[in-house]
Amino acid sequence: MQRRLAAIAIVLVLLLFPAAADSYSLSAYISGVSSGVDNIGFGLFPIGTTFGFERLFALVPGQRDAEFQFEMSFAFNNSTIDERFDYVTGMPIWMDEDISALSGTYFNPRAYIDIYLDQGFGDNPLYDDGSLVNLRLGFNARYSMALERVDLSKSGNSDPPLFVDDSGHLKPPFDGSLPAYPWLEGNRSVYTDYLYLDAYLNLDRDTPTDAEAEHGLGLDLSFVYGPKWLFNSISGTQSDFWRFGIYLEEKMELFTVYQDNGWNWVNMYVGHSNTFRYTGGATVPVNMLPEDRLRAILSDRIWIHFTAPQFLAGDCFAFIELNLYNTLMFGGVANGPSSFSIELQSSFSARIQVRLFGFIRLEYQVGYDFIRGIWPEYPDWWQNAALSFYVSV
């Protein structure tokens, strides 16, 4: 009941803004699909989906319309427990090799609702229809379950359950407190939420199809706040954290060669960005854990982006992007000890993407990790490929 009231109260408060508006427009979109467990639909059809609704309406006189977005998502697939952290102390294996680790795979049905209100101010000097500054206030609520793998219910599968014994009682250590994995405690049905505030400075051009060369500067300041009093302690404290982030990006167009119809033959731009994020608080939910759980992240990225000719339609094109990342992670361990740790990661990646008709994306990535800091993984090549669908109307 508490979580229902939380969701209802906050949804209603945010809905007051568009309700006060005289006019608005609505658009819908879908993005991000997953094919679920056992590759239902031969792995091609979606079983998890992200979709949403957007409304534009006049909120501040003399400024551009505010945007109200309501986004929902669900996914039904497996997750694997990260074995690198002690389940009581949160101590990572690189700080103490003799840790008590959890391992296993579980069915992880989950969904979230994200609501935000975005208002622009001023004029972007590089884009006639854009604002110079945008302020965004949002709310994100997430529900997830950690259940036994669904293939246990199949005939002939004699694997033992992960969480319970043959009589249904919780197995150790799931029968006790798991400070490093609070989402695996108790009945493992977890509700968490947080508020967020973003401020964007926009000094860059609009690129409606991503086929155009990007150019300009962008700055994003963000603050995320998920305290336990915000309905985050319904089944034990599942969230009590905050995060501050700053992101700065600079891009410069090198050249563009146009076709007669205004489409691109080719274009190229270079980019550079820096990110700093710090995650504080006693309990960080699983979806907000920083990489390797180190609280502070400082990263630097340099990339060069080459777009091949547009063909058939404005949103049919391919691009190649070469990236060099350097990421420094440091500080205490989230959901773990406060002792200082530091790690440097350096990697190179090449990303090739083909986009067809605005909603099909074929992507292949290959990369090489030079350094994986103190975490004992050796320099290694990696690759992945994906087919995804994305629609925005």
Partner: protein, 389 residues
């Protein structure tokens, strides 16, 4: 090979619409009480409209690809071995289970004839090619505690998991045979006659729809776990009994009272009828039995208003009475011929508040006064929030 065929089919669909871009609609977002108490979504149905010129000037031509996917709960209604009905006295185990599903329809529709509304056609004919994947598992809360060890498919005896129904051929639930996964393709054709003015809080007129879905076992790509033909006929009648318009904005109303009746008749023929085709839905846990002839009816009186600053933001109170009957041969009974006539009935009240047609806050209380096969009467209430469009 099958994967390749489906992939090529998808690519073919996409390449046929390259030129102009297309529209996208979300039709329905659903929730399940077992997942987040029905607050967060578990499935969604949406549609891509391919850009098509109207073949007949002023009448709509639609080519669309519809997807419906997610997770849902179901109940085992017939004994897997022989298809006998699982009446209350004949089972002692939990009957609910989870289904991950994914359905697609590629359909073409053409409208004819004018109605009082400019955007609406009086007669619409349609044809679609359909496919449906399903994968069934135990209910979500299976194996979460000492009282949750028994499942519909599995039982624990002396701490050892064993199959409750070890037969590999499930006559009573053909889509659950073997690994409990299926894929079935079908062809559907039908028409809609529409003379219903639907103004959100005011409705007047009549609408009739009829379709025929053919899904024999030999359909391409099918796994052979379904073989059926269904004729689905639906008649809707609506009458606005009273309405009071807002004086400042005439498109909005302060208050309106609408009487609706919706009657559905299904004729189902086949020896392997999957659960998603069976019976009919009424309020409550007891669906209409899986018989060859199924009739359901909902008579309702809705009180709307006021509309608050927007056509799709308003409170509603609905009084409803549901009635269903299953007649004739029980389906999925193998070589056994069994004829029944079984009625079900329920009534209730639903109070809801809709915000922008997206978010619905509701309270519902109902009574099942006539359960199928002597299931006892019961009262249930629900309170919650759902999202949808």
């Amino acid at each position: 090979m099958r994967k390749l065929c489906v992939f090529l089919l998808l690519m073919l669909f996409s390449f046929s619409l390259y030129a102009i871009g297309f529209g996208y609609h979300v039709f329905e977002v659903r929730t399940e009480p077992e997942f987040s108490e029905g607050v967060f979504p578990t499935s969604v149905m949406y549609q891509f409209n391919f850009p098509m010129p109207d073949f007949i000037d002023g009448r709509r031509t639609v080519l669309a690809f519809r997807l419906d996917n997610g997770l849902m709960y179901r109940y085992l209604r017939q004994h897997p071995d022989d298809g006998s009905i699982l009446a209350r006295s004949s089972y002692t185990f939990p009957r609910e289970y989870t289904v991950l599903f994914d359905e697609f329809n590629l359909f073409f529709a053409q409208g004819f004839g004018q109605t009082r509304e400019e955007e609406k056609d009086f007669f619409t004919a349609f044809l679609s090619i359909d496919g449906r994947f399903e994968n069934a598992y135990e209910r979500l809360f299976w194996l979460t505690g000492p009282g949750e060890m028994e499942g519909v498919f599995n039982t624990f005896e002396d701490g050892i998991k064993t199959d409750r129904f070890p037969s590999s051929s499930w006559i009573g639930a053909p889509e659950l045979s073997g690994s409990r996964s299926m894929f079935q393709t079908s062809v559907t054709t039908g028409f809609i006659l529409d003379w219903l003015d639907d103004e959100v809080t005011r409705r007047d007129g009549v609408r009739f729809g009829s379709y025929l879905r053919l899904s024999p076992e030999w359909m391409p790509l099918s796994t052979g776990s379904a073989s059926f033909l269904v004729s689905w006929n639906e008649l809707e009648l609506s009458k606005t009994l009273y309405t009071a318009q807002q004086s400042r904005r005439s498109e909005l109303s302060w208050f309106s009272v609408v009487l609706d009746d919706k009657i559905t008749y299904r004729y189902i023929y086949g020896d392997k009828v999957p659960a998603y085709i069976q019976g009919g839905d009424i309020w409550g846990r007891g669906d209409v039995p899986n018989t060859a002839h199924v009739i359901t009816n909902r008579l309702s009186l809705s009180i709307y208003g006021p509309q608050i600053n927007s056509r799709d933001s308003y409170p509603t109170i609905t009084f409803f009475w549901d009635f269903g009957v299953g007649l004739g041969r029980v389906l999925n009974r193998g070589s056994v011929t069994e004829n029944i006539a079984e009625t079900v009935g329920s009534y209730g009240i639903k109070a809801e508040f809709l915000v922008f047609g997206i978010i619905e806050l509701y309270y519902e209380i109902g009574c099942s006064y006539d359960g199928a096969f002597s299931e006892g009467s019961y009262v249930e209430q629900k309170f919650g929030v759902t999202v949808g469009i």
